[in-house]
């Protein structure tokens, strides 16, 4: 995309269908990973567990999550959407703030990373359960447009973990 397009994106937001398209592909990959995780027996050693297809695929998904957090504009599924899908669609009715989808990708990375670490440590079911949890969030985003990340953000912020607290009685 040109600098001008990037500038206009910063000003007014992104096409909300882009993150949903990416979430759809992510959901599909996660579903395949849950299947692989359920069919492959847990390896006996760390090296065996690290070479299982379910582990390797989840590492790839984690890298994609990380990419979307670090540089959402260059992330592969977003690029596929902008170059192949968006030109064939009508212009979006509404533009969206790019920060919430980025935060949600970070939540996805967190969940998937927990699954990877526990799997390496030899915890049974950790990998398919983490992949399934991430799948639920990605699927709800892609199909229903529900943003679990936003709601999580608000809960964390209410708990005082995110955002600055300023009491009302000022």
């Amino acid at each position: 995309m040109s600098d001008r397009a990037a500038a206009s994106e910063r000003r007014s937001g992104i096409d909300p269908r882009g993150p949903r398209f990416a979430a759809g592909i992510t959901a599909l990959l996660l579903l395949v990973d849950v299947f692989l995780g359920l069919t492959t027996p847990l390896g006996a050693t760390v090296a065996e567990r690290a070479l299982e297809p379910a582990f390797l695929l989840l590492v790839a998904i984690a890298v994609l999550f990380l990419w979307s957090v670090v540089s959402p504009r260059t992330a592969p599924w977003g690029a596929v959407y902008r170059f192949l899908v968006q030109p064939r669609l009508k212009p979006p009715a509404d533009l969206e703030d790019p920060r919430p989808p980025r935060f949600a990708q970070g939540v996805g990375l967190f969940v998937v990373a927990i699954g990877l670490v526990l799997h390496l440590a030899g915890v049974p079911w950790a990998l398919p359960i983490a992949a399934a949890a991430a799948f639920v969030a990605a699927f709800l985003n892609a199909v229903f447009g529900l943003c679990l990340g936003c709601q999580l953000y608000l809960l964390l912020q209410r708990a005082g973990i995110l955002g600055r607290e300023r009491p009302a009685a000022a």
Binding site: G13, L38, L140, A168
Partner: protein, 159 residues
């Protein structure tokens, strides 16, 4: 084990495969059910909420609408808040005495706690005295919102 695939191995594989497919089906069905439920719950207005009278000054606003107020709560990281903001603004602009207030609770967890806000956007419909009449969690349905306002302004529902 001389053969690469013993009969026992094949049987075990079939059981594993079947179990995995059932697992996937349950996961998919559960996710779809959750999505349908959440969407249904979001579109539905809730009435008879035990809330006190909302004081505009506490929220940093000067006054409420003459006949009704659409009180929206948003955060920084909320993908659907800007769209709901536009919808509510245009609804309020189309009616006399209806005011739209959008409160950013990103840095005000006290307000979020006070109104029990678990998701943004959350929209409260207040009557002329500031009493909470209806609550919408998520994206309110515009037609339902108009009906709620008709109820408050005492018009017949033929808008």
């Amino acid at each position: 084990m001389a053969l690469p695939f013993s009969r026992k191995q094949l049987a075990w594989d079939a059981v594993t495969l079947l179990g995995a497919l059932i697992g996937l089906a349950v996961l998919l069905a559960g996710t779809v059910a959750l999505g349908v439920f959440l969407q249904w719950q979001q579109r539905r207005p809730r009435r008879h909420i035990p809330h006190e009278v909302v004081e505009p000054a506490r929220l940093g606003a000067d006054s409420l609408g003459q006949t009704a107020t659409l009180l929206q709560f948003s955060t920084d990281l909320c993908s659907r808040c800007p769209g709901v903001h536009r919808t509510l603004s245009s609804v309020a602009d189309g009616r006399d005495g209806v005011r739209h207030l959008d409160i950013d609770v990103t840095n005000r967890p006290d307000i979020a706690k006070h109104f029990h806000i678990l998701q943004t956007p959350t929209t409260l419909v207040l009557d002329s005295t500031g009493v909470v009449q209806t609550r919408f969690g998520g994206v309110p349905n515009r037609d339902v919102l108009e009906l709620e306002l008709n109820r408050l302004t005492g018009e017949t529902a033929n808008v």
